[in-house]
């Protein structure tokens, strides 16, 4: 499978010109914006301003990635389907990002699962939530956190969970 184009490949440099063109159009036309898991790609601008973040767009064969880097160095990536829907998010950096903003309508489900996880384990254990409709995995330590969240049901055709990283 050649679905994934390496993360550092910048916007517009992929081999899949036609899809890239679609994304270019999509991003350019709507001034696309930060959106939560499961949500539509809307206006990037507001949240970019809110996060005071640098924005980078990476286009792969079957999806695009919006990558935002906050001044503190926390990198948030949103995986966007050709239909303009966010099907996965990842984060990595010194601070945990705002989960409500990141997970949108999945926030309450995440919150319930995280509570259940905490209450059923003694001490700190990385999250490894596998529920229908939501997978969340975390790793790290104080001042270096990473994680990913996705809805298996939203993965575009030909995209595997292994692509989300």
């Amino acid at each position: 499978m050649k679905a994934y184009v390496h993360g550092e490949r910048e916007f517009g440099k992929t081999r899949t010109r036609s899809l890239a063109a679609v994304f270019i159009l999509l991003f350019a036309m709507s001034l696309p914006a930060f959106a939560a898991l499961g949500g539509p790609l809307e206006s990037v601008q507001a949240d970019q301003v809110r996060l005071n973040a640098k924005l980078k767009i990476i286009v792969a064969e079957r999806y695009a990635i919006q990558e935002m880097t906050s001044p503190a160095g926390t990198v948030v990536r949103e995986y966007v389907s050709p239909a303009g829907q966010v099907f996965a998010v990842t984060w990595q950096g010194p601070f945990v990002p705002e989960m409500r903003m990141l997970l949108g309508s999945y926030f309450e489900q995440y919150s319930r699962a995280a509570r259940a996880h905490r209450e059923s384990h003694v001490g700190r254990v990385p999250l490894d939530i596998w529920e229908s409709g939501l997978v969340v995995q975390t790793a790290g330590h104080m001042r270096s956190f990473s994680g990913r969240a996705y809805d298996p049901g939203l993965l575009p055709e030909g995209v595997s969970a292994d692509d989300i990283r």
């Binding site: 550092e8 005071n52 945990v96 705002e98 409500r100 104080m142 990913r148």
Partner: protein
């Protein structure tokens, strides 16, 4: 704190005044409903005498068909305080269990009899009272260190055959003070010499085969209820003022086994005073920075909190990898660990109240882990590679220098508490929760954790935490290999073809966590359960220096944890997703938790400090 004189005091108060009667109800099928009946209160205290600042739990059994509890009062008014009131109804019974904690005042000069009264809510004529004697005489034992410093540190260690010099300070004794008597427990484990009314020398046994604990007690001659203790661990070798004992012993919570947790004891004091409490069950964590102590474990202390110009309290938020958080005020305390002192250290006191927490802190996580059961410990001693909890690679994220909007670590809250919508505030480095090691006089550039090898599993493993690197004869780097950290305090681990660039060594992790396809356990789903123990290896690579292959075992965690043991070198579990990690640019981790520490001396050098040698901290070495 223990009380020398335990007596049981029971007061059965009252007295049925009204005759119970029943009436047949006119509707609804004719059940009988008692309408009135006797009310009685039985009041119980485990002790009858208290010393300044100490507490006793009083319980009342209330026999009352209306299942109303009691109200509590003290006489003389305001002499001490009542807290932790509870009231529990027994279903299908007319009994209510009520309890309250009475805490004696800390500052008074004459012996006082306090009367605590429980009054029935149903019938205020029904009361039960109990009398407690509160003596102002208090004893504090101080340790006269070989360095000449005198500290109220109540947990010490010495080598076999060595001696420890102790002083006792008795306050509010009838002049002239008769001082204290000294005793050692277990009796015969070492000797007390030169015992006087205010000083003694403890001589440790000449030979011990393994670490041995003794307790030395000073008891006021005038008031035998007034005692103070020092816990001494006698080691075969390696003791010193910069050495603290750590134990992998399942942790401090009865009925709960904290696997692979290294615990120590600390003494916390009101700043600049000898008003102190010693707290055991403190998790030693090289993966975080700063002391975080449960409020419920330091009821006798009154630690000043940091406030801004408007009287708002500075609250600290510590987010964990599991989405949970710790919340509570930034407070000032003197911290003593063995013979080391961190004066006026800023610590987080994890608040007992289930107060409102800004969503910026909770972030979808569980409720504040503010009980020993939830935390698995009485506190966390963060002795990792950074000086405060908001500094990384010399960049301070909370003081406004690197970003105008601070991260979710500090909040300024009015006395009624924060609102869920409150946002973080900017704080200077000197207002941040601090790694207490950096405050030690000279052994302040890092720590070494030393644990013996463990094969299979053990119920208890004793080791040491040595403060300072290359500052004393007992903490030299020697032939250990340094692995330096990248700008995120990580290094790389190569494991089964996967390059895990966010790897780290962390005594606060219970297991080795890494991405693998080994199945998780059915019961303990945070760990791996291979059919049989598997031997594997991985390569550690420092950011620019250090490389070593580490062999380790992955055992079946359900089998391991079915025992009553607490130390498991083969405990491992999943972190992240196995299949994503072979790809470049992926944030994958190998978390070298406490199992890695068995059989090694693991050094953690603190960013910004100076360690003799050519590799600037932060780094790990072993």
């Amino acid at each position: 704190m223990t009380f020398a004189d335990r007596v049981n005091v029971r007061v059965l108060a009252i007295v049925a005044l009204q005759v119970g009667l029943t009436i047949l109800t006119a509707c609804g099928g004719g059940s009988t409903t008692p309408t009135t009946g006797a009310v009685a209160i039985e009041l119980f205290s485990s002790i009858a005498s208290l010393t300044p600042g100490t507490s006793v739990d009083l319980t009342a059994t209330v026999y009352d068909q209306h299942n109303q509890g009691v109200t509590w009062t003290i006489a003389p008014l305001h002499f001490g305080g009542l807290s932790h009131e509870t009231s529990t109804n027994t279903p299908s019974s007319d009994q209510t269990m009520a309890s309250v904690t009475y805490t004696a005042p800390t500052n008074f000069s004459t012996k006082t009899t306090v009367t605590i009264t429980a009054t029935s809510i149903t019938n205020s004529q029904i009361q039960a009272s109990i009398q407690l004697t509160v003596s102002p005489i208090a004893v504090v034992v101080l340790v006269n260190l070989p360095t000449g410093a005198v500290v109220p540190s109540a947990v010490q260690n010495i080598n076999q055959g060595d001696q420890l010099s102790l002083l006792a300070v008795v306050s509010n004794d009838t002049p002239p003070s008769k001082g204290v008597t000294w005793s050692v427990s277990p009796a015969g484990e070492g000797t007390l010499t030169g015992a006087g009314p205010i000083s003694v020398t403890y001589l440790a046994p000449n030979a011990v085969s393994s670490p041995m604990n003794v307790t030395i007690t000073a008891t006021s001659v005038t008031n035998p209820n007034a005692i103070s203790t020092v816990q001494v661990t006698v080691l075969p070798s390696g003791a010193g003022p910069n050495v603290a004992i750590i134990n992998v012993d399942g942790g401090p919570v009865p009925g709960q086994v904290y696997a692979n947790g290294a615990f120590t004891s600390i003494t916390l004091c009101n700043p600049g005073s000898t008003s102190c409490q010693t707290v055991n069950g403190i998790l030693v964590d090289t993966g975080s920075y700063g002391l975080r102590i449960l409020q419920s474990q330091i009821p006798l202390l009154k630690l000043p909190t940091l406030k801004d110009g408007n009287g708002n309290t500075l609250e600290n938020c510590a987010s964990s990898v599991d989405g949970s958080y710790l919340w509570g005020p930034v407070s000032e305390a003197d911290i003593y660990v063995s013979g080391e002192a961190a004066p006026s250290a800023l610590v987080q006191v994890i608040t007992s109240a289930n107060s409102s927490v800004p969503e910026g802190c909770s972030n979808g996580g569980t409720a504040n882990a503010n009980t020993p059961q939830l935390l698995g410990a009485n506190g966390i001693l963060g002795v990792g590679p950074e000086p405060t909890d908001c500094v990384l690679s010399g960049i301070n994220f909370c003081d406004g220098s690197s970003q105008p909007t601070p991260p979710n670590l500090y909040f300024a809250c009015p006395s009624i508490g924060c609102a869920v919508t409150d946002t973080p505030v900017i704080v200077t480095k000197s207002q941040q929760v601090i790694n207490p090691v950096t405050l030690f006089t000279s052994d302040n550039n890092g720590v070494i954790l030393q644990l013996p090898p463990v094969s299979g599993a053990e119920k208890t493993v004793a080791g040491t935490m040595v403060f300072g690197i290359g500052t004393e004869n007992n903490n030299k780097l020697g032939s250990a290999t340094i692995f330096n950290m990248d700008s995120n305090d990580n290094f790389t681990t190569v494991f089964q073809g996967k390059t895990l660039t966010k790897s780290f060594i962390d005594s606060g992790s219970k297991a080795l966590y890494f991405p693998d396809s080994i199945p998780s356990c059915a019961k303990n789903d945070e760990f791996f359960c291979p059919k049989s123990t598997t031997q594997v290896s991985a390569v550690m690579e420092g950011a620019t220096t250090g490389r070593n292959t580490v062999d380790f075992a992955v055992g079946n965690a359900d089998d391991l944890l079915s025992t009553k043991d607490a130390a498991f070198p083969a405990l491992a579990g999943p972190e992240g997703s196995d299949n994503t990690c072979p790809h470049a640019g992926t944030a994958c981790s190998f978390d070298w938790g406490l199992p890695f520490f068995y059989g090694r001396n693991v050094y953690t050098a603190i960013d910004g400090s100076t360690v003799p040698g050519i590799v600037p901290p932060p780094w790990w070495a072993y």
